[in-house]
Subunit: 335 residues, 2 copies
């Protein structure tokens, strides 16, 4: 019997989507759904206004452990990963719904700390928590849904990359993955360095302002880097029916990552995951205008090309290098 662990997450989603498609109502089509399953967020039209919605869940033992993150940071992060999806659509958050699956033995104080982290991030970026559900569960989980509104139209999406575009990314890559290594392996590093990496992992900053700015300036193709640059750029290529080249020497890599991870900094930057930066493409005609601001907060790292050859990564020595890791697949991990 075929089980969840015997097929890929991608294939499972495709199979479930097929069930929904087979039942789609001919008499009552969902005319108000502009963009369904497959992008960072769903886009719906309600009374001629566009909105976006996304949901992301963190499960204890899969996405975090009580040793790997404080409850306050977990609260921040559970909202931040959703805000990152909203940012990737060029939108800003309006409200959040939070579902907690709780073990009866969990302390009220720890949950108050969780909510402090949630309150802090919505104090900074909006998207206040306005409701949710609390259920008993033998496995602790936090499921967050965020609804947002576009800062400009069209909203950013994955399938708009075109041959000739350049590829760009915000912030730094690889620091979050380094942070996870440091926490789980309890690596010994100077305090300030440790803090830099731990914060990258535990308190990601959703790039809402940059996402909005990109949409306003006419950028159309973006997604957030949650599964690693290589994996996520591949998704843009598949959705847009293009290929890409990326140059490792052009990646935004923090000096701490090069210094403290001299042998694997490039692996962490290319495939680390959980960066929650914005990955986007800039069409030729916008390139000069958008790139000329040195404080723009992003870096050009490659080019979009024709064909269906996926993503080629040119390593530090200028030669093609295979960084394929298969990305994150939580079911496969255990299988």
């Amino acid at each position: 019997m075929e089980t969840v662990s015997s097929i890929s997450e991608f294939e499972l989603i495709r199979r479930l989507q097929a069930v929904l498609d087979n039942h789609s109502n001919q008499e009552n089509p969902s005319e108000n759904i502009v963009l369904g399953i497959g992008d960072d967020a769903t886009v719906a039209e309600i009374n001629s206004d566009l909105e976006v919605a996304t949901t992301d869940t963190l499960v204890e033992g899969v996405h975090f452990t009580s040793e790997s993150i404080s409850m306050k940071d977990l609260g921040w992060k559970s909202i931040a990963v959703n805000f990152s999806d909203i940012a990737a659509m060029g939108c800003s958050p309006i409200y959040s719904l939070v579902t907690l699956g709780l073990k009866p033995s969990q302390t009220v104080a720890s949950l108050e700390n969780l909510y402090k982290g949630m309150a802090e991030i919505s104090e900074r970026y909006g998207g206040k928590v306005v409701g949710g559900d609390i259920v008993r569960s033998d496995t602790f989980f936090i499921s967050v849904t965020v609804v947002g509104a576009p800062c400009a139209t069209p909203v950013l999406r994955r399938d708009k990359a075109r041959s000739g575009d350049v590829v760009a990314v915000t912030g730094h890559l690889g620091c979050s993955a380094a942070g996870l290594r440091i926490i789980t392996k309890n690596l010994s590093l100077p305090d300030n360095v440790k803090e830099h990496f731990a914060n990258s992992h535990s308190r990601p900053i959703p790039q809402i302002d940059i996402g909005a700015s990109l949409a306003v300036q006419g950028i159309e193709c973006a997604m957030d880097v949650s599964d690693g640059l290589l994996n996520d750029l591949s998704k843009i290529c598949v959705a847009s029916n293009v290929s890409a080249n990326v140059f490792v020497n052009d990646l935004p890599v923090h000096e701490h990552l090069r210094t403290y991870f001299p042998d694997i900094w490039d692996q962490l930057a290319v495939g680390g995951g959980e960066d929650y930066e914005l990955l986007f493409t800039i069409p030729e005609e916008l390139k000069d205008r958008i790139s000329q601001n040195p404080n723009s907060g992003f870096k050009i790292i490659g080019t979009i090309t024709e064909g269906n050859e996926g993503v080629k990564v040119i390593g530090p020595d200028g030669a093609l290098k295979d960084y394929s890791t298969g990305g994150w697949d939580h079911f496969k991990e255990q299988a």
Copy 2:
């Protein structure tokens, strides 16, 4: 140390809400949130249009077991309980997001059946599944968020009952709780009777059409009956700062319930839970107009009175009867 099981679910929500309130941003108030935590759904204003959002989660071993419900019915029910909240606001569903927490050993075929049930209900009522998240979890759970739009304004809410209103409820009460008893205790009953009760429990019908009709006709106070009539009417009383009297002999009780549960039909009707009917109040001035239609789909069961005395239930013999069960509190259940 205070734990989740040592306080009530209500108190836990109050404590977490207090954390959010302490951090509410003075410079950036959530002006677009019309109604936050505490009603069946959140009401938000986006670009001057109102929308509602609700989320409900079903956890294996807490809300269902693989013996108590088929996967297809579970798919239907996981959406239906959310649609019921949307109906209770006088709204209709626009789109749904589904998060699955899956054990690696679950079969793909069983999940396809789950989605068939979801597809069937949205084929009937709209609110198509347009996205979500799939995560690995040692505990199987289904978390659904539904966004809807008002069929008329103002939307229905819990805090609008006034002394002098009559109390009304749609459909029948108690059949779902009877269904759960029959399934879990494997009671022997005629097939058609068993099917009636099992369907009441496993395939609840969200009262979207009636909710919309009530809002259009000027009703302002409603909620859905998910935790039992007594428990839920008490919530209306607390929110509206009123009391209520309910007459058991006026409750809409199916003949099968009286026949096959002669000793406890009234207990099941008053406190059974999971009815997913609409409970609402009708102001004096609307009573004649709204009640005159014999096919209206609801029944008047009591009155709203002044004070804070909660809900008094007048039993089958005309005397006050104490049906208090403490309602459903999934944490207490185990504690």
